[in-house]
C-alpha cells in the first residue's frame, strides 16, 4: 500500500513539452540511441508561482517533508527482462521526482531497438504524466516493459517514497 510510484506532484514545463500536441518529427528515430530522459524540473520546486491555480501546485506545498529542498539521485535495480536488463535513475527534488533516466536497456538486436523505441518513451511519459498538473493519465500507453516500472519502483523504494 505504501509503495506509491509517485508521492509528490509537480508543475513542470518539461512535461508539457514532452506531452505537447505539436508534431515533433525528431521523436521516434532519436530516442533509441541515447539515454532517454524525462526532465520535469524546469520550475524550481521551492517557489510555486503565484499564477498557478492547479490542484497539483497546492499539493506540492504539503507539510511534513523536512528535507523538501534536497536534490538527490537514486539508481534503481537493474531488472532482467526477456530482452535484457533495464535500469532507471531517478532525480528527486525533495520528495518530487524531477527526472527519470533510462540508463540501461536492451539494445542487442533490431527487435530490441524496435521495442525500446516504442516502449520506453511511452513509459517515461506515463510515469511523469502521473505527477503532471496538465495530464492526469494517458490512454493507450500500456506498460509492456515490466523492467522499467520495477526498476523505477526499486529506486522510489530506496528513496523512501
Amino acid at each position: 500500500m505504501r509503495r506509491a510510484i509517485v508521492a509528490g506532484t509537480a508543475t513542470v514545463a518539461g512535461v508539457i513539452l514532452l506531452l505537447s500536441l505539436k508534431p515533433h518529427n525528431s521523436g521516434a528515430g532519436a530516442v533509441s540511441s541515447r539515454i532517454i530522459s524525462s526532465d520535469t524540473s524546469s520550475t524550481p520546486s521551492s517557489a510555486p508561482s503565484a499564477g498557478q491555480s492547479s490542484p497539483a501546485a497546492s499539493a506540492a506545498a504539503s507539510p511534513g517533508s523536512p528535507s523538501a529542498s534536497a536534490t538527490r539521485t537514486v539508481t534503481g535495480s537493474a531488472i532482467d527482462t526477456r530482452y535484457g536488463p533495464v535500469q532507471v535513475r531517478v532525480v528527486l527534488d525533495g520528495k518530487k521526482v524531477s527526472r527519470i533516466d533510462v540508463i540501461q536497456y536492451p539494445q542487442e538486436s533490431g527487435r530490441d531497438l524496435e521495442i525500446n523505441s516504442y516502449a520506453l518513451p511511452q513509459l517515461n511519459q506515463e510515469a511523469i504524466a502521473a505527477q503532471s498538473a496538465q495530464i492526469d493519465a494517458v490512454s493507450g500507453a500500456t506498460y509492456t516493459s515490466d523492467g522499467y516500472t520495477r526498476s523505477l519502483q526499486s529506486a522510489l523504494d530506496q528513496a523512501g517514497l
Binding site: 500500500m1 509503495r3 506509491a4 510510484i5 509517485v6 508521492a7 509528490g8 506532484t9 514532452l18 506531452l19 505537447s20 500536441l21 508534431p23 515533433h24 521523436g27 521516434a28 530516442v31 490542484p55 497546492s58 499539493a59 504539503s62 523505441s117 516504442y118 516502449a119 518513451p121 511511452q122 517515461n124 511519459q125 506515463e126 504524466a129 502521473a130 505527477q131 496538465q134 495530464i135 492526469d136 493519465a137 494517458v138 490512454s139 493507450g140 500507453a141 500500456t142 506498460y143 509492456t144 515490466d146 516500472t149 520495477r150 519502483q153
Partner: protein, 250 residues
Amino acid sequence: MTAPAPLRHAEHVMGTVFSFTVRDPTPEIGEALRRAVERLHRIDRVFSTYRPDSDISRLGRGELTPAECDPEVAEVLERCREVTAETDGWFSDRPGGVLDPSGWVKGWAVEEASRLLRAAGSDRHSVGGGGDIQTCGGPWRIGVAHPLHPGELIAVVAGHDLAVATSGTAERGPHILDPHTGRPATGLASLTLVGRRLARTDAWATAAFAMGPQRALAWAARHPQVEALAVLPDGSTRHTPGLRRHLATG
C-alpha cells in the same frame, strides 16, 4: 477550499500496471484502495490466461465445468456474449480459438476497482489499467497516446466521469485478431473510445479496432454511449462528430 494531496498508488497486476489517483482521500477510502488492489489480484488469479491453474485456463482445457468455476466466470462469459452481439460479432472471448475473455476482464477490473472506491465514499478518483482509464468526478485530463510518435499525444480528452479506452498496435504490434478471419487487424493504428463505464467501453474498443476505420466509425456513430477517435496507419485521424465535446480546449 484546501485540496489534500492526492493519494496515488501503482500496482503490478495482470501483466501491466494499474494506477490510482484519489483526489478525496480519507482513511476509509485508503482502506478501500487496499481492497481494490486485492480485488485486482483475485480477478487475475481467476481469469489469467497466463496462469495454468486459473479457472479460465482450466475451463479452457476442459478440466472444469462452468459450474465448478468461480461464480464470476459465468457472469464474465455472459458479458462477453453480450459484447459479441452488440458488436456484430467483432468481439470474441475465444480469439485464436482459445478461451480468453481478457478483452472484457481488464476494463471490468478497472471499473470494479473504481466501484469499490466509490462505495467507500470517493467521488473524485481515476483508475487506469494498461492505458485504459475510468474516472470518477472531475475534471480530469486524459491524454491519448499518439500511436505513431512515441512519447507524444494525439489528443487530450477532458471531462467528468469518463471512461477512455485505446486499442492499438504501437507498443505490442498487431495483436488484436479479426474474429472473422483469425488474422491480426491492421486497418487502424489505434482506436480510442470515450464512454462512461470502462468495462464495455474497453471491450467495444477492442471490437471496433478489429472492424477497421470505416466500419468502426459508422458503428460508433450508431452508439450514443461512446465517441470514437481513429488513427489510421498513415497518421490521419477520423472521429465521430460527438467526440468534439470531450476534447480539451485549454
